[in-house]
């Protein structure tokens, strides 16, 4: 039966005073695909290792279904784990690897054989029982690691960048299969990754971590559309970040003066005020048209010159230098009918003030 996990104010300080994890708090719900996302060194793997019991928190508590397991040794936690390098036992066959956890649980031979068979069938590795890990491809090793972890019907499945070593095609396929398996078995799954696309594609919820702290917890759409901090906005996908002084103009009541004459109208939800603010604007929220001679609408458009055109297939990514000297990324869907703008073209950018996202620093 899958379990919920509560991480309550957990910190990990190593000898020498390095704070790998700093007061991390999150609730992982039962049956949820939960990702820990962040750059290397952000504390995501340390957090996962503390959940697994390979590291002991310096302070704080970890609870599974309400029971404190902070000091329960790893081998009594009943959690499955898929390691980054798979950590398959090189001296044992595929079947022996998968049977290991069942053997530790003292099950009888017939039961073990049946369960191993079922688990290998689930990851589509039937027939490879007697191979050694070294005789398998990366994708197959990954499946063995997965089968070994789920065959014990763990309360929680922990994955430490399990797909990192696979090539792109295989990784996408495994993402899909892992997600399906997780839903089918109703597993609570904690997934560590530095790949934001992977996290967005697979997760029910994501915790974005940076410098040992949690920046934001939310669904993929929340994380992408409403990033709350500058780090999250910058880390997830491409974005344009502006920083400036709050101001009021004759036409816009609540605006941001980002310098060199560029004024951005703030979203209507943002009232009047003063002070310094950062906002994010996604490249695909900007429309790009051939330069018009008409004056730009105050706060929601600007003139510029295309500097760089990057054809991505489904979309085109432009780098545009505004008259205010700001450089902005703009992404347009590739409609296939109109010609692409080329470097040197004069363009006008338009956006909706409501698409600006106000960030905490």
């Amino acid at each position: 039966m899958s379990a919920s996990i509560e991480i309550a104010g957990v910190s990990k300080v190593y000898d020498g005073g390095v704070r790998a994890v700093d007061a991390v708090a999150m609730d992982i719900r039962q049956g949820e695909f939960f990702s820990l996302l962040g750059p290397s060194g952000c504390g995501k793997t340390t957090t996962l290792r503390m959940i697994a019991g390979f590291e002991t928190p310096s302070s704080g508590a970890i609870r599974v279904d309400g029971a404190d397991i902070t000091h329960v040794p790893a081998h009594k936690r009943d959690m499955g784990m898929v390691f980054q390098n798979y950590a398959l036992f090189p001296h044992r066959t595929v079947a022996e690897n998968v049977a290991f956890g069942l053997r530790m649980r003292g099950l009888d031979k017939a039961t073990i054989t049946a369960k191993v068979k079922a688990a290998l069938a689930m990851v589509e590795l039937s027939g490879l029982e007697d191979r050694r890990p070294a005789q398998l491809s990366g994708g197959q090793q990954q499946r063995v690691a997965l089968a070994r972890a789920i065959v014990i019907a763990p309360r929680v499945l922990l994955c430490d960048e399990p797909l990192g070593a696979l090539d792109k095609k295989l990784r996408q396929q495994m993402q899909f299969e892992l997600k399906q398996l997780q839903k089918k078995l109703g597993l609570t799954l904690v997934f560590v990754t530095h790949d934001q696309e992977e996290a967005l594609a697979m997760s029910d919820r994501i915790a974005v971590m940076n410098g040992g702290r949690v920046e934001q917890v939310g669904t993929p759409t929340e994380i992408y559309n409403q990033p709350t901090t500058r780090f999250v906005a910058d880390f997830i996908g491409d974005t344009n970040i502006f920083r400036g002084e709050r101001t009021t103009t004759s036409t816009v009541a609540s605006a941001l003066d980002v310098g060199k004459g560029l004024i951005l109208a703030l979203p209507p939800t943002e009232g009047q005020g003063t002070g310094v603010l950062s906002v994010a604007l996604r490249p695909e929220k900007i429309r790009l048209i051939t330069r018009t001679d008409a004056a730009t609408a105050a706060g929601s458009s600007a003139h510029g010159i295309v500097e760089n055109t990057n054809f991505l297939g489904g979309a085109v990514l432009y780098r545009v230098t505004l008259e205010s000297a700001h450089r902005v990324l703009v992404q347009q869907p590739n409609a296939g009918t109109s010609r692409l703008f080329v470097p040197g073209d004069g363009v006008t950018l338009e956006w909706t003030p409501a698409d600006l996202v106000v960030l905490k620093d």
Binding site: A52, H75, G80, F83, A87, F89, P90, H91, M104, A134
Partner: protein
């Protein structure tokens, strides 16, 4: 495969010449001479008439005394190896897994430091500890635990103690390399699957470190059966081993032929072990060659 890598004259191959010459001159030639001497009736350089004979080997087989010496040598070698393994493995495991660099450096120094002192000096140190009036006996007697001094020196036990002390570093260094290369995450994976730390060690680390155990044991055994100084000083000629016997045959009895035959026996014991080692290694790690 072999067709594409046929040997072609390579300029770099010349660099192997000095070591090849040295091996030929100082290794194969002496061993060849020793083998020859062991089947001759005398030294052809000083004796005008020599003939081939098997009498040196026949003497060894015919006299239980010599068989006893061979067996004693092997027994001391085996016990030394087992004790060195029992002491060395935990130390090597500790060294391979210790996180702190300073800790690792300290352990390494502790292992290597004794090797900076000569074998003779270290063996004399053991004599002051183990003799009838040595530190150990004096302490035990003053505590009233024993009334008669324990016979620690001039016994096999004394020799084994001295040999273990000298050869443990070889065991530790060999094992540390092998254990250090075993991915720690394998143990963690085992624990994650429900194995206690001890069980994880027995199921994963121990079998994966077998090549190191075999290599370290082979090294220590080969060194122990050919040791000369320690068995003489701590055994006091009361315990006879093959190297001591060989030395006596040459220096006291001038029986070079018999000494050569004994040397060949010592060599054959070592060679048989190397072959057995390679076989065993093939059995325990045949599958790993694929990696």
């Amino acid at each position: 495969m072999s067709s594409t890598t046929t040997t072609r004259p390579n300029g770099l191959a010349l660099f192997i010449l000095p070591s090849a010459l040295m091996f030929a001159l100082f290794f194969f030639l002496p061993i060849g001479l020793m083998a020859l001497m062991s089947v001759l009736t005398g030294n052809p350089v000083v004796m005008p008439k020599v003939a081939f004979t098997t009498r040196h080997y026949a003497r060894m087989v015919g006299d239980p005394y010599y068989l006893e010496v061979i067996w004693t040598t092997i027994r001391i070698g085996l016990v030394t190896t087992l004790v060195a393994l029992a002491i060395g493995y935990p130390l090597a495991h500790w060294m391979a897994r210790i996180k702190s660099r300073a800790g690792h450096a300290l352990l390494l120094m502790a292992v290597l430091a004794p090797m900076l002192t000569g074998i003779v000096v270290r063996t004399f140190a053991w004599m002051t500890l183990l003799s009838d009036k040595g530190v150990v006996n004096q302490t035990l007697m003053s505590l009233g635990l024993i009334s008669q001094p324990l016979k620690l020196m001039y016994t096999e036990t004394g020799i084994v103690v001295g040999l273990v002390h000298i050869y443990v570093p070889f065991m530790v260094l060999t094992l540390t390399g092998v254990i250090g290369r075993i991915d720690e995450r394998l143990e963690q994976a085992a624990e994650n699957l429900g194995a206690s730390p001890l069980r994880a060690f027995l199921e994963v680390t121990l079998p994966l470190s077998l090549p190191g155990i075999l290599a370290g044991s082979l090294l220590v055994f080969a060194l122990a059966i050919s040791a000369y100084v320690t068995p003489i000083l701590l055994g006091g000629f009361q315990i006879m081993t093959l190297p001591i016997l060989i030395y006596q045959q040459i220096s006291a009895n001038f029986n070079v032929g018999f000494a050569a035959a004994l040397g060949i026996v010592l060599l054959v014991i070592s060679l048989m072990l190397v072959i057995a080692y390679n076989r065993a290694l093939g059995l325990v790690s045949g599958q790993r060659e694929l990696q």
